[in-house]
Structure formats: C-alpha cells, structure tokens
C-alpha cells in the first residue's frame, strides 16, 4: 500500500525519490557505521597495543637497570595521550614497579598483572603486555585506556545526519527539476479531464508531449473522449427524438382523452335524443286509444307520432353510419347521376324541418344538368345534413341558401345561413366525431355531433372535400362541398335513370314468407305487406318457417339469420332443397353487413342480403325488382 503522502502524482513521485534516497543512504550509512564500529575496535586495540609495545620497549632498560624513576617518566609520557587513563609496570614477581595515572582519583591498579592481552570493560579497555628483552621477561605493562565507540559513533551519526540531509535536499532539488518530465504530461491530461468534466465539452483534447506510455495514454484518452463525445451527441439526438415522441404520445393521449370525453358526451346526448321522441309517441298512442277521439285529433296524433318516429329513425341511421365510419365500412355505390336531382331530393328531405323553423330557403342551381359519379342517396344525405344543420343552428325565421356552381373540373354545393356561426378556434374541429358546436350544458340545438363527420367522410369517399367558412359567432356559416366533375354527359338529363325514391306504387300481389323471432317486427311488417295487397305468411322460428313454407309455397322469403330451432342459413339450404320452394327468392335479414356475412348468405342460397333495421320500402323494392 502506498503511504498517504499527498494525493498528487507530483507528491508521490517526490515521495518515491526521497524515500529511495533515504533508504539507500540509510543502508549505506548503517553499513559504514557498523564497519566503522568494528574498525574502531580494531584500530583502537591496535593503537593501544602499539603504544604498549613502544612503552614496553622504552621501559625495558629502565626495568633492566632497576630505574623506577625512568620507568615512571616513560609511563608519564602517556599523559600526552588523553585517552589513556592509567598505566603501570609490574616486576616479574608481580610487584608494582612504576605507575601512571591521568587523574588523581583513578581506579586502583590490579594487585597483580593478569594474562597477556586486552579486556574491554564498558567504556575502557585494559591491556597487559609482557616486557621481554633478550628472551627474558622483564615485567608486565598494564594500560587502562578509554574505549569510546559510542563517542565515535556520535560523530559519525552527526556526519551521517548532515550528509543525509544534504543528500535529501539534493535529491529533492533534482527530483523537482526532473520530475516535470514525468508529471507534466500526466498533469496535462488531468487538467483536460477536469475541464471536460466541468464544461462537458468532449471536443477538448490532451496534448501528446512524450513518446512514452504517458503519450500513449494521452492518445488513448483522446480516443475515448472522441468516442464519449460521439456517443453523448448520439444520445442527445435520441433524447430529443424521444422527447418528441413523448410529446406526440402525450398529444395523442390528450386527443384520445378528448375523443373519449366526446364519446361520453355523445352517449349522453344520444340517450337524450332517443328518449325525447318516445314521450310524444306514447302520448299519441294514448290519444288514439281514447274511445271518443275525433278524426282530426287522431290524424294530428298520427302525424306527430310519424314525425317523432322519423326523427328516431334518422338518429339511429346516423348511429349506424357512425359505427360504419369507425369500423371503416362506410361505402358508396357510385353511378352517374344528375346533381340537380340529388340536391333537389336533399332539399325535399330537409324541407319539413326548415319549414318547422320558419326559415326562408333559397335555391340557386344552373339550368343545365351537371353529371357526376356519386351515390345519389349518400350525397343527398350530405346535402340534407348540411341544410338540417343550417336550420338547427339558425334562430327561427332565418335565411338559408343552397347554391350549386360549376367550375372547370369541379362543382361546388354551398349551404349558407345567417345563424349562430362557428367560433374560429372550433372551425378546424367541427368535422371531428362527436364535436358539438354548442358546448354549453343548456344548449338548445341538440344534435349527435356526427352529422358533419359523416358528411366529410362521404364527401371524401366521393373524392371531394368539404370546407367551413364563418366570420365567427353570430356571423352565420357557409358550408361548401367541392366534388370532382366528370366529363359532360352525353345527351340530356332525360337519359339519366330515375333515382329510386322508394315510391309506393302498388306492385303485383305476391306470396311472401316472413321469418323472424322478433314477433312485433315480423307481425307489423306482415300487416303492412298484406295492406299492400300481398299474401303473407309469418313464422317466429326456423322450424315453423320450414313447415309453413312447404304448404305456403312463397314467391319471396325474408329470413332472419339468428333464429331459434333452425338458423337462417340452414333454413335457406333446406328451402332450396325442397321442390316446393326451390324457386323462391330468398332474402337474408341480419344484423351483420360485412362482406363475409354476405358471402356466407350467398353460399347458403340467399338471393339478397339486407342489414337490419329493415324498412318496408326495402322489401317492396326487392319484390318489385325481382323477376316473377
């Protein structure tokens, strides 16, 4: 583990250099010290030994010639060596011959000379040396000298300390001078890193100043910076697009919520609108049931009931169209028609309501017939819708204008009024499903909010477009339908087939079988057909229908698909199989109008397919148009 010596590379490098220097110096110093200590002992002993030799040799004549004074003087010469504590010469017999003591309070001399050699005792060394001359032992020299290795050591330690400090200072200086080569590039990279962190700027680059590992580090670091920068910008782009998507999703969600809210409003309105006609109808029934009701009152009640019923039928038709729009099954059967006729029919359909609100209706159409490819019923529905709207959203006694203008390759149908108008901010959304122009709770002009949506869809199915134009609230509204014009009609409008408006001219009497488990429906329908002069047989389930058919031998059979006992498909197959009914015209009446349903009906042997709700006109149409 690295010692906690600063946190910067500079400090660490310094620490490495200084500690290395210190360690090597310490090792060298210690070795030197140990060597010196050992050396001190050797030299000290050798020194004392040689001193002893000199003194011994010098003192030999003094001993030989019994000159104690001279011997004493010889020993006294040791006084020039301050490290000699005491010295003495013993005669061969062991008696003291001469002595020397550096200090007066010196230790007592040994009573008798010891064995030759030296003994180190703490801070002194004691040495005995035989004095020999001419192979004759003259005596023994004793020297008591200071032995101070620690003193010596102290000196050396001081020197070592000074040298060490000087060396460390030198190492410090050199390291400070040289380490720039190592630490500078690292510090440079560190600076760049910090800059990048602080400014989040990945375009910064570290400079490659060396060719060593640090240089490689700088290159690698730059590479990483580039990579990080690229990824960061990619991330930013992704983030932006995510944000965008989030916004879109939020908007879509909001739109969905809005649509949901509109649907709720629609449902509330629908319930209300459906319920509204029921009360007058029930009142009418009550009036008709009264025993002594006069003919005028009864006729008024019937008229009122018929109006209310028509209103309900219209609502339910709209509702069915809405479901067709939402499931994408709204189709138009286009054929060549004369536009004036279509507009005229639409005006006739809407006229009762317009007149009920006492509006003035003006129609302006070119005299020459305009031919277009359109579904006459649907297009009339669009125009009557627009007129109905205009009548509804204009205060009673207003003005409503319908005009047709022809351009080079388009034709425009305009429905204008001087009614409540449409606020500008709502003009773009009035074609959305369930949008109510009047959004106040106590709105007077109730509607389902599907009319314009339906109109727009139908116009678009005709390859045209619908536009709204209003100066604002209270300024009236102008709706404009633009349709593509087909090539001019050859001949006159007399060549055009008459639009089937469901006229009630009496057909030839027929034998008709009606099978449906909805008893009220099938009975009332039967009554109506009988009133038209047909012979009718009614059945309330598949088995009954089959049984009746064999005896009744009908020309036409209208069969409900979802019936008890035998369903419509099986019944059709059996009727086709029976000789009595093999040539009966079979018509399926079902709640499902999809292509697969129609195909299935055809496969079962049906000649026609009607989608509920079925009106008597539709039955009549089949009866009239089918070959006898």
């Amino acid at each position: 583990m690295m010692p906690a010596f600063g946190s910067s590379v500079r400090a660490r490098v310094m620490w490495v250099v200084l500690s290395t220097t210190f360690a090597s110096l310490l090792l060298a110093g210690t070795t030197l010290l140990l060597y010196e200590l050992r050396n001190y002992k050797a030299t000290r002993i050798a020194e004392i030994q040689s001193l002893a030799n000199i003194i011994a040799r010098a003192s030999a004549p003094a001993i030989a010639f019994e000159d104690a004074k001279a011997a004493k003087e010889n020993l006294a010469l040791l006084g020039v060596r301050p490290k000699i504590n005491a010295a003495a010469i013993y005669k061969p017999g062991g008696t003291l011959f001469a002595t020397y003591s550096r200090l007066p309070e010196a230790r007592p001399f040994p009573v008798s000379p010891g064995a030759e050699g030296f003994v180190i005792e703490g801070m002194r060394v004691r040495l005995f040396q035989r004095i020999v001359e001419n192979n004759e032992v003259l005596g023994t020299l004793y020297i008591d000298a200071l032995y101070e290795p620690l003193e010596r050591l102290k000196d050396y330690l001081v020197i070592l300390g000074v040298v060490m400090m000087a060396a460390m200072a030198l190492a410090f200086a050199i390291s400070a001078w040289l380490q720039g080569a190592i630490t500078e590039p690292i510090l440079d990279i560190t600076r760049v890193t910090r800059e990048v962190m602080n400014r989040r700027d990945f375009s910064l680059r570290a400079e490659k100043t060396t060719q060593d590992e640090i240089g490689e580090l700088a290159v690698a670091f730059n590479g990483m910076l580039g990579e990080v920068g690229q990824r960061s910008s990619e991330l930013e782009v992704i983030n932006l697009s995510l944000e965008h998507e989030m916004n879109e999703k939020r908007e879509a969600e909001e739109a969905l919520r809005q649509a949901d809210r509109r649907k709720d409003e629609f449902l509330a309105t629908l319930a209300h609108e459906l319920r509204n006609p029921l009360a007058p109808i029930r009142n009418g029934l009550e009036i008709l049931r009264m025993p002594n009701v006069d003919a005028t009152a009864a006729a008024r009640a019937r008229d009122m009931m018929e109006r209310q019923l028509k209103q309900m039928v219209r609502l339910v038709d709209d509702l069915l169209d809405v479901s067709r729009i939402t499931t994408g099954k709204l189709v138009v059967a286009r054929e060549r028609v004369e536009l004036q006729t279509v507009v005229h029919n639409a005006v006739e359909t809407a006229r009762p309501f317009v007149e009920a609100r006492r509006h003035t209706l003006t129609i302006d159409m070119p005299g020459a017939p305009i031919a277009i490819d359109a579904d006459a019923t649907r297009l009339a529905q669009v125009v009557s819708n627009l007129i109905n709207n205009a009548a509804r959203y204009t205060e009673p006694g207003g003005r409503i204008g319908v005009s047709v203008t022809q351009d080079a390759d388009t034709v425009s149908i305009c429905v204008s009024d001087n009614g409540i108008g449409i606020a500008r901010e709502l003009q773009s959304s009035i074609f959305d499903m369930f949008t109510q122009v009047d959004q106040s709770l106590e709105r007077r002009q109730a509607g389902l909010g599907v009319g314009l949506t339906l109109a727009k869809k139908l116009v678009e199915l005709h390859g045209g477009s619908i536009h709204v134009d209003s100066e604002g609230l209270g300024k009236g509204t102008r709706m404009r339908v633009v349709l593509p014009l087909t090539s001019p009609l050859p001949g006159t409008s007399r060549d055009l087939p008459a639009v089937n408006t469901g006229s009630a001219r009496g057909p030839a009497p027929r034998r008709i079988l009606l099978a449906d488990d909805n008893v009220d429906f099938v009975n009332s329908m039967g009554t109506l057909l009988e009133a038209m002069g047909h012979e009718v047989c009614v059945a309330h389930d598949g088995a009954e229908a089959l049984a009746s058919a064999e005896k009744f031998r009908p020309d036409f059979a209208f069969l409900d698909i979802g019936m008890p006992m035998i369903n419509g498909y099986d019944l059709a197959r059996r009727l086709k199989a029976m000789p009595a009914t093999a040539h009966t015209v079979l018509t399926a009446v079902s709640g499902w109008g999809q292509a697969s349903d129609r195909l299935r009906a055809t496969e079962a042997g049906f000649d026609n397919h009607l989608v509920k709700p079925v009106e008597v006109d539709q039955l009549e149409s089949i009866i009239v148009n089918s070959p006898a």
């Binding site: 000199i54 010639f65 019994e66 000159d67 003087e73 010889n74 010469l77």
Partner: protein, 200 residues
C-alpha cells in the same frame, strides 16, 4: 623545575622512536639503582647488581662486524682487578644468551691480551693502572666499564657510580664509538648523566 625539564628532555627521544629514527642525540647518561651501599653485605649486594648490569649491558651494545665472527660466538666479559665480581658474574651467566650469544667470563691478569674480549670491566683500584688499561683497550672493539670517580674522563665507555646508595652508571657514547662500538639509545635513556643534562 628539574623534573619538568627532565620530562621535556625525555619526551624528545620518545618522539624520535615513534618516528622511527633511532639516532643518538644524547652523549652521556646516568642510571640510578636503589641498592644500599654500606657495609660488607652491602658491598656484596653492590657487586651482585654490578655483575647483573654488566651482563645486561651486552644487550644494548652493537659490536663492529668481525668482533663477533659467528652468530653463536660467545660474548666474552673480562673482569680486571675485581675477582669477587667475576665470581658473581660467573654465577649469573650460565645458560643465559644475548642475541644467541653465550656469555663467557674471563679474569684478566697482568699482561693478558685484550683480543677476543667484548666487554672489559676494570674494578676500582689504582687510578693510574685503570687509566693505562683503558688506554690499552682503546684500539680494541670492546666496551670498557669502570667504577671509578670520573671514570668517563679516563676514556671509559660506561662508569658505575653510587648515587643515594644506589648503583647507577654514566655513559659516554663518544668514547664507545671511538672503539668502533655503538651504545643503544635506550641504554642511554637510563644513564644517570643524561638526566643531569651534561654531555660528558
């Protein structure tokens, strides 16, 4: 005062040894011996000391080449005018060797040749005879030792003296060198005249 001066004088040769130079700087030195010199017993004790010194002198004398032909040629100590000392000397020397040279004692009589003698001791006695003997020994490579007052003046190399009842000796390196011999400076260091500070 005197002691200080002597120490100072002694210190010089000590330093000279330490430096490895063994040249003689001092001429005559005297040695003191703590031997009482009184009565017959004292006289015999004095003779014993002188005999021992005489034998030990041989260790500090360097004879010229030829004076001692072989490495184990005996060192002849001749004793004149003092038979008792010769006796004492003969009692000491057997078995002793100096530089591998055995010691032989010879009693010198009138007319004996001085050839082959290394050390000649002339006992106290007639001063004129002593002087003539010293003179006769002069041409020979031998150390003349006397025990007469002012003996060095007669030309002897070493002269025993009594000082405070102890046997000491004076030495004259010049006289010794005249006979072709050399006295060791170490011997001179214990010679009594060296301490007096007088050369000769």
């Amino acid at each position: 005062m005197i002691a200080d001066k002597m120490t100072a004088m002694l210190r010089r040769p000590m330093r000279a040894w330490a430096a490895g130079a063994g040249t003689l700087l001092f001429a005559t030195l005297c040695a003191t011996l703590s031997i009482p010199a009184a009565g017959q017993g004292e006289r015999s004790l004095e003779r014993g000391v002188k005999a021992a010194f005489l034998y030990k002198f041989a260790g500090y004398v360097e004879w010229p080449a030829g004076a001692l032909p072989a490495a184990d040629a005996p060192i002849v100590i001749a004793v004149a005018q003092e038979a008792a000392l010769a006796d004492e000397l003969e009692r000491i020397v057997p078995g002793r060797r100096i530089d591998n040279h055995p010691i032989v004692v010879r009693r010198l009589r009138e007319g004996d040749s001085l050839a082959g003698i290394q050390i000649l001791f002339i006992g106290a006695g007639d001063r004129g005879r002593t002087a003539s003997l010293v003179r006769a020994a002069q041409p020979h490579p031998l150390l003349v030792v006397t025990e007469i007052d002012n003996g060095l003046a007669l030309g002897s190399g070493i002269n025993f003296v009594l000082h405070e009842g102890r046997v000491r000796f004076e030495a004259s390196p010049e006289a010794v060198e005249r006979s072709g011999l050399k006295l060791s400076s170490r011997l001179l260091s214990v010679a009594s005249n060296a301490r007096m500070g007088t050369a000769q």
